[in-house]
């Protein structure tokens, strides 16, 4: 028990040090500023385009959802690149040798990077959540969801579903973040980490364009499931929860979140997260820091 407490304390200290460092590093600040800069004018442009094409549903939630969908797509590579440099920043500055000559184990250091990466992802999603809902409220209002003055869904219901969907988005982005930390663990320079990281992101995104008719069968409990190869392109699976939320503005309630697509997303992203964690843990344990 004391070992676990000691481990958690060390990780907490490391995470604190990470945030002290990152919030003073201009690259990270610029990255989050870029996300904000993309989000705010992007939302305004999207609203203008909706108005111009007369395609608006006049629903603040519908607008927020559409905006969130696009902003997640645009922001994921940025936060991913920032995560790719999490470990590389210490290796390229050689500061890792000081960190590892303090009473800190390599596993604690790795876990602190994961916690920090998840924090960065959460911060990004919360930022996008605030911008999209804020814009929805500003342009159309966020009361009950109505159609011709009939209440289709109460505001609290829509907001709850929206929050659940966002949580699942976070789960998907955690797998992307794990890939970033893993890349960073093996890198010695920030440039190298970013380049290899983007190649991997491109590769896994490319997998998702394999036609859904191609795949393999997985038998679980005597039941066969078709698994398309495109499922392996996990970064794109992040958008599945937002697709589920798409039903709400059309008046269809969400009866279950556990659709086959959602199951596939949760299982695939969890497996990828576990895979990347194991790879990075083995990597950091074996690595000689000859800096």
């Amino acid at each position: 028990m004391t070992d676990v407490v000691d481990f958690c304390r060390s990780v907490a200290r490391l995470v604190r040090a990470e945030w002290i460092k990152l919030t003073r590093y201009w690259v990270v600040l610029a990255g989050f500023a870029a996300i904000a800069v993309i989000a705010v004018p992007g939302t305004m442009v999207f609203h203008w385009a909706e108005q111009a094409a007369n395609l608006t549903s006049n629903s603040g939630y519908d607008f927020a959802l559409s905006v969130m969908n696009r902003l997640i797509d645009l922001s994921t590579p940025i936060v991913y690149v920032l995560i790719c440099i999490l470990f590389a920043i210490d290796v390229s500055n050689s500061t890792v040798k000081y960190i590892l000559t303090r009473p800190v184990t390599r596993m604690e250091m790795l876990c602190s990077k994961y916690v920090t990466a998840l924090g960065m992802v959460t911060l990004t999603v919360l930022l996008l959540w605030a911008v999209s809902l804020g814009a929805g409220a500003a342009y159309y209002g966020l009361g009950d969801l109505t159609e011709n003055e009939y209440v289709i869904f109460e505001g609290s219901y829509v907001l709850t579903q929206y929050a659940i969907g966002t949580f699942f988005v976070l789960l998907g982005m955690a797998a992307v973040a794990a890939m970033g930390v893993t890349v960073s663990t093996f890198s010695s320079t920030m440039g190298g980490a970013i380049i290899i990281g983007l190649i991997l992101l491109f590769f896994f995104n490319a997998l998702s364009i394999i036609p859904a008719s191609l795949g393999f069968e997985l038998t679980v409990g005597g039941e066969a499931f078709a698994v398309p190869w495109s499922t392996l392109g996990f970064p794109n699976l992040v958008l599945i929860p937002l697709d589920v939320l798409d039903d709400i503005p059309t008046g269809i309630p969400i009866r279950t979140w556990w659709t086959p697509d959602m199951l596939r997303m949760v299982v695939t992203c969890s497996l990828y997260f576990a895979f990347f964690f194991v790879v990075s843990a083995v990597g950091i344990r074996q690595r000689d820091f000859t800096l």
């Binding site: 002290i20 003073r24 040798k97 303090r102 000689d288 800096l291």
Partner: protein, 310 residues
């Protein structure tokens, strides 16, 4: 109860592929002493220190710090160590003070007064608020030493601490290490190829070359207790003739330190014999003295290395 030695390395070996960087190195550092780890560049000093700190895994052998095995009881071992390994490294976008504060967080936090104290100690108090990317190499080196001292460690591991320092800075580091030694609370393990500096501060030294330890002992063991080197000064025009004459007469190889300045290891002959031979052959002796061997001389005798040793 007997306390464990601050640092014990046993059979330490490190191979990188087919190249052996350090081979079967064993040493013990006694409490409160300054231990010099000497060797030319590429001798394996930094690799050894990295193994001592757990930054790289030894191919075989072990390191114990105050009785704790570095690999098995890493935290207990490293908690008592302050280190500067192969050049200082900091976050360039943070100030000197912020860097020390950040690294202090890793051990649970260090009071601001202690940060100010170590910055004062290395002469950087006035620069505490300046970003590290504007620091010279010498200032970074001082900050590295400040970081190593930050948590008042019982064992200080310093790898080439005077690298990049000007003569004044080198002298200050020497004084600092002397002060630490005199206080007796901290054991210092310091690697360097600046032999003259090491000779002034170390109680005990190990000489390493090509990954092997050639000799280990106290300075008196290595340099001898008595003055045994004859220093001879003649005119620059006569030095080669004097050299061959002494070689011929005493069977020992005189060392030409610089033009007109020779050194000869004393044997059964003394300064008077040397003077007699040279004057007898018409060479004017401008100076003659007897002193103890320097660490540099011992080092050269042991390793044959001279190129990067000062």
């Amino acid at each position: 109860m007997e306390t464990a030695a601050p640092l014990v390395a046993s059979g330490l070996t490190k191979r990188f592929g087919s190249r052996t960087a350090v081979q079967d190195l064993s040493l013990t550092v006694e409490e409160g002493k300054v231990y010099g780890f000497l060797g030319p560049n590429g001798a394996g000093k930094t690799t050894t220190i990295r193994m001592m700190l757990g930054l790289i895994r030894p191919s075989s052998g072990s390191v114990r710090i105050f009785g704790h095995d570095v690999r098995r009881e890493f935290k207990a071992a490293i908690r008592q160590v302050g280190a500067l390994v192969e050049g200082p490294a900091f976050y360039p976008f943070l100030t000197a003070h912020a860097n020390l504060k950040l690294f202090g967080v890793l051990s649970g936090g260090v009071p601001t007064s202690r940060i100010d104290e170590v910055l004062e100690l290395v002469g950087l108090r006035a620069r505490a608020g300046q970003r590290v990317d504007g620091f010279s190499q010498g200032m970074r080196q001082r900050l590295g030493i400040a970081l190593a001292l930050l948590e008042a460690p019982r064992l200080l591991l310093l790898d080439e601490p005077t690298n990049g320092l000007d003569p004044q800075g080198t002298r200050e580091v020497r004084e600092l290490l002397r002060r630490i030694r005199d206080e007796g609370r901290t054991t210092v393990f310091v690697s360097s190829h600046l032999l003259a500096e090491m000779e002034r501060i170390c109680d005990r030294v190990a000489v390493l070359t090509q990954g092997r330890m050639l000799r280990e002992g106290s300075l008196d063991d290595l340099l001898g207790h008595e003055a045994d080197v004859v220093e001879i000064e003649v005119s620059a025009a006569d030095d080669e003739r004097a050299r061959s004459l002494l070689r011929e007469r005493f069977g020992a190889e005189p060392r030409l330190v610089r033009r007109g300045h020779l050194e000869l290891r004393k044997g059964r002959f003394g300064p008077a014999d040397v003077n007699g031979v040279l004057v007898g052959e018409g060479i004017a002796v401008e100076g003659l003295g007897l002193r103890r061997r320097t660490l540099e001389q011992v080092f050269v005798e042991l390793t044959g290395e001279t190129s990067d040793i000062q």
